[in-house]
């Protein structure tokens, strides 16, 4: 090896740091910066974690399940854990920072799962991709809320849809299907959410929403009804099939209409009743089904059939509610036996109670409590006799032994209203009894009799005699009418018309005369005369005591007279009457009144003259005399009883008189009279009578002219003298009477001897009865004569 100079350690100058450091280091530095930048940015962009509690987390996978808002992923599930007591599943979702501020208190989360309903399939995409969490919140940032309660079902309004939230309550018979549409005029405008059974278990309520802008259709006057199913009706207009749409036919659904105007806008959460059909919905507008309801229970001892849901509940005859549910109750602990009792739920409408203002359920309960304490009880009564339907009636029971009771407020689920014995008439049994009675009636026999009666009547009515009757009647009536006409003619004559005037004149004269008499104390004298007469009457009364016997005899006579052929007589009289009418119808008879009038005028003149010539004085004197005479007569009557006895005897004799013969004779006489009247001569009579009257008038005139009044005065004087004489005779009468009495007593004693054997008294009584009858006959005869004055012409 060659010698080499020693190596000089040569150390190059140390290069600067930048010269030594390789440029390549820039790359890792940049990488580091980028990495750090990315890390920082991803950390800064990371949103908060929202924790959502679900009932279960079926299908939710951490790190995979997304949170979506309007179908855009805005978060990812990071954790799936439990709440503290394992009560719920807590899903932690990493939110996007951009939406975190919007996830406020009102946000809703629900898990979207595949769902197959009658309306279709929803969430189908989740079958393959797995479920996702749907978040729903409004567009107003309200501050991030880290903990939320997830709902099991999708809310009605998602994705920012707006509308009116309502609560629908199903009326009895109406159905409410979950998730069914709300249809208006065939257009789906809303949706029904999940249905829940109300607390008392009687009705179904469901949340529903009507989306904007259709929510303006909803007002307080809106009525909902069940549009599912179909209705078929057959009427005069033909067959009719109604259903809203095929969809609602299958899936159910409700529709609505604002049936009256004047509704007010409603708030969210307003309760509406869903009626079974349109008709009941429309009619409900006036029945005020809405408003607060008071539910009561009532337990009836007797389980009567016929009560049904919707039966009316009445208080004092006014419908205040209805029956909403019927249940049987068996409670041995409470009632002591195991009988089935009828538990009825009553839905009371407080507004029907007639209290002032708008009262609520509590006030209504208080009111009913008071009523119950006053004795009001619920009972079942017949609502309809025909159908046998029942209703619940709250009525005041007025029984003294009524147990005090009140509403049991502690009863569950509703307060218990006290009840009493039902008042149910068994209509069917009563009706059956009535029908049985009717059935038992002998209708056939009755009808037979009726038919027989009808036959007889028809036979009688059909007889020719009966048919002739009207003709005869008509003839008779014609006669009567003719007579009446004649009479009217007579009366209608001027003379008759003038008669009253005349009579009035006479009456005037008489009145003057009477006043004249008054002036001369005629009344007093007359009174005295009457006194005397009274005495005489007293005497006569005494006399009359013997009269019965007389009457008996007369009765016998009368009996005979009764046997007379009165009928024949009457017939003849009728004939006579006819003739008389003919006579009256004659001109002469018509002229008679005139003559009478003239005569009356004469009398009038005479009377006036008489007055002028102091006739009253004479009359007064005469009356005095008459009084004296009456007094005398009174006195003289003292002997009359005996005389009566005698008369009795005479009457007895009279009994033997052949009255029959007399009647026949009389009849014959009347016949003759009739014939006479029928003759022309008789017809001439009125004329003659008129002449006679004229003559009488002439005579009267003469009398007046020839001082007749003076003669009358003289006559009165004579009469007075005669009266005086009579008085004198009467004064002698007592003696005569005493003589007569003695004679009669002798005769009486003689008769007494015969009394027992011959029964003279009885005979006398019989005689008197006969006389009575005769008197009656005579009386009727007299009446007949009265009616036919022409008999007077014959002096009878």
């Amino acid at each position: 090896m060659t010698e080499t100079p020693p190596n000089v350690p040569i150390r190059p100058a140390r290069r600067s740091f930048f010269e030594r450091v390789s440029i390549v280091w820039v790359v890792p530095l940049v990488a580091l910066v980028i990495a750090l930048g990315v890390a920082w940015q991803s950390y800064a962009d990371r949103g908060p974690v929202v924790e959502i509690a679900f009932e279960n987390a079926s299908g939710v996978v951490a790190g995979q399940t997304e949170l979506r808002y309007r179908d855009v992923a805005v978060g990812l599930v990071e954790t799936v854990s439990f709440t503290e007591s394992l009560g719920k599943v807590l899903v932690g979702v990493r939110l996007d920072k951009a939406v975190a501020e919007y996830v406020d208190d009102e946000s809703e989360f629900f898990v979207v799962r595949p769902e197959i309903t009658s309306r279709g399939v929803s969430g189908l995409e989740t079958v393959l991709s797995g479920v996702y969490i749907q978040g729903d919140w409004d567009t107003e940032p309200g501050g991030f809320t880290p903990l939320h309660e997830g709902s099991a079902d999708s809310p009605l309004m998602v994705g920012g849809k707006r509308g009116k939230r309502l609560v629908l309550r199903a009326a009895p018979e109406a159905s409410l299907t979950e998730r069914s549409p709300i249809v208006y005029q065939g257009l789906e405008v809303g949706q029904i959410g999940r249905a829940n059974i109300t607390d008392d278990g009687n009705t179904i309520e469901a949340e529903a929403v009507v989306f904007a802008p259709h929510d303006r259709l909803i007002s307080s006057a809106t009525r909902f009804w069940d549009a599912s199913g179909f209705s078929f009706s057959l009427g005069p207009g033909g067959a009719r099939l109604d259903f809203s749409s095929v969809a609602s036919l299958v899936s159910g659904g409700v529709t609505f209409r604002t049936v009256v105007s004047g509704g007010e806008p409603v708030e969210d959460g307003q309760v509406f009743v869903v009626y079974p059909d349109e008709g009941s919905a429309r009619s409900s507008v006036f029945s005020e089904e809405d408003g607060p309801r008071l539910n009561l229970s009532a337990i009836f001892e007797d389980h009567a059939s016929g009560l049904s849901e919707d039966a009316p509940v009445e208080l004092g005859g006014i419908r205040i509610g209805r029956v909403t549910a019927l249940n049987g109750v068996v409670d041995a602990d409470r009632f002591g036996d195991e009988r089935v009792r009828l538990a009825v739920t009553l839905s009371i409408n407080p507004s029907r109670l007639g209290m002032d203002g708008d009262i609520g359920a509590d006030a209504a309960l208080e009111f009913l409590q008071r009523r119950a304490q006053e004795g009001v009880r619920a009972r079942l009564v017949n609502a309809s006799l025909l159908t046998g339907g029942l209703k619940v009636e709250m009525i005041e029971i007025e029984e003294p032994d009524l147990d005090p009771a009140e509403i049991d407020l502690t009863h569950e689920p509703n307060p218990l209203f006290p009840t009493t014995e039902s008042d149910i008439a068994d209509v069917s049994a009563t009706a059956e009894g009535v029908f049985e009675r009717i059935n038992a009636l002998p209708i056939e026999e009755l009808l037979d009799s009726a038919i027989g009666l009808m036959d007889n009547i028809s036979r009688v009515a059909g007889s020719p005699d009966l048919r002739a009757l009207p003709t005869d009647l008509r003839a008779t009536i014609g006669e009567v009418r003719g007579t009446v006409e004649e009479v009217r003619n007579v009366i209608g004559s001027e003379d008759i018309q003038a008669l009253p005037g005349r009579i009035t004149a006479v009456a005037d004269q008489l009145e003057i005369l009477v006043s004249d008499l008054n002036e001369r104390d005629v009344a007093g004298r007359v009174l005295a005369a009457f006194d005397a007469t009274q005495e005489a009457a007293a005497d006569v009364s005494k006399v009359s005591q013997g009269l019965p016997e007389l009457f008996e005899s007369i009765d016998a006579v009368a009996k005979k007279a009764a046997n007379l052929e009165i009928e024949q007589l009457t017939e003849e009289l009728t004939g006579l009457t006819r003739n008389a009418r003919t006579l009256l119808g004659s001109d002469q008879a018509q002229a008679l009144p005139a003559a009478v009038t003239a005569t009356l005028a004469e009398i009038d003149t005479i009377l006036s003259e008489a007055r002028e010539q102091g006739m009253t004085d004479s009359i007064v004197t005469a009356l005095n005399a008459a009084r004296d005479a009456a007094g005398t007569v009174s006195r003289s009557f003292e002997g009359v009883p005996d005389l009566v006895d005698r008369l009795n005897a005479v009457a007895a004799k009279a009994e033997t008189v052949p009255l029959d013969q007399l009647g026949e004779d009389l009849s014959a006489l009347l016949n003759s009279a009739n014939q006479v009247l029928d003759t022309d001569g008789a017809r001439q009579l009125p004329e003659d009578l008129g002449n006679a009257l004229q003559e009488l008038q002439a005579v009267l005139q003469e009398l007046r002219e020839g001082g007749t009044v003076e003669n009358v005065n003289a006559t009165f004087d004579s009469a007075r003298q005669a009266a005086d004489t009579l008085r004198e005779i009467a004064q002698q009468l007592p003696a005569i009477l005493s003589q007569a009495r003695s004679v009669l007593s002798r005769a009486g004693s003689t008769i007494e001897g015969y009394d027992a054997d011959r029964g003279v008294g009885r005979d006398l009584a019989i005689a008197v009865r006969e006389v009575q009858r005769a008197a009656e006959a005579v009386s009727s005869l007299a009446r007949a004569l009265e009616r036919s004055p022409n008999s007077l012409l014959f002096g009878r």
Binding site: R20, W25, V27, P28, A35, S129
Partner: protein, 218 residues
């Protein structure tokens, strides 16, 4: 080849070899007389570059494992798997072979590369008990096998291009594939940057020596 314990390097003999055409020139030669390549006995920035690429590669390797490698979307599902996750998934389904291949190609090899490069670089500066020959062999293996690490990226690229059935199914490369590819590239660069001649420098302080006619190894 059995290499005796004391190997004399060209540097010790005052020579310098051209790294392109391997002709050996005297130590002061600036440029290779044959190919004109710039002559340099040792690259003073080699370790720095190696370390720099190594760091970048490691940085890229982290997201390559955390982000999904492959995004598979079919009609029914969408799955994104990381490298390790996918391998585990496969192993769960019983495909242990494929799982091992993936694990080796995508996890074992890259991590081994990082470890080997780091070890070599440290060994150059601090010295090591491992023989120079062994270290050189390691270096050659690393450089050889490094490109195979891209097998995962190739699979992703091929699948993505092949499986595009529209809505039915599609496979897209995940973020990790890009980072993984970058990681592989950076580790390869790191390996290349490493001047393997330094393995043979026994001394930590390389001392320039006059040219001596000695056995020249390289």
């Amino acid at each position: 080849m059995e290499i005796p314990g004391n190997v004399t390097t060209a540097r010790q003999m005052g020579l310098v070899a051209c790294t392109r055409c391997t002709k050996v020139w005297p130590g002061e030669t600036e440029r290779c007389g044959r190919c004109g390549h710039r002559m340099q006995s040792r690259d003073p920035g080699s370790l720095q570059r190696a370390w720099a690429w190594w760091v970048v590669g490691l940085i890229c390797y982290i997201p390559a494992n955390t982000y999904p490698m492959l995004s598979t979307r079919t009609l029914v599902s969408k799955s994104e798997d990381t490298i390790v996750g996918g391998a585990v998934e496969l192993a769960h389904h019983g495909s242990y072979g494929i799982a091992i291949v993936i694990l080796v190609a995508s996890v074992l090899i890259p991590i081994g590369k990082f470890a080997v490069i780091a070890a070599l670089a440290i060994g150059v500066r601090r010295g090591t008990r491992m023989s120079q020959l062994r270290r050189h062999q390691l270096y050659e293996v690393v450089e050889y096998i490094g490109r195979w690490s891209m097998i995962d990226v190739f699979v992703v690229a091929i699948l993505s291009s092949l499986v595009q059935l529209g809505a039915l199914a599609s496979i897209a490369p995940g973020k990790a594939s890009l980072f993984f590819a970058l990681s592989v590239i950076f580790t390869m660069l790191s390996a290349q940057s490493f001047d393997s001649r330094m393995i043979w420098d026994r001394d930590s302080e390389p001392t320039p020596q006059p040219l001596q006619p000695q056995e020249v190894h390289a």
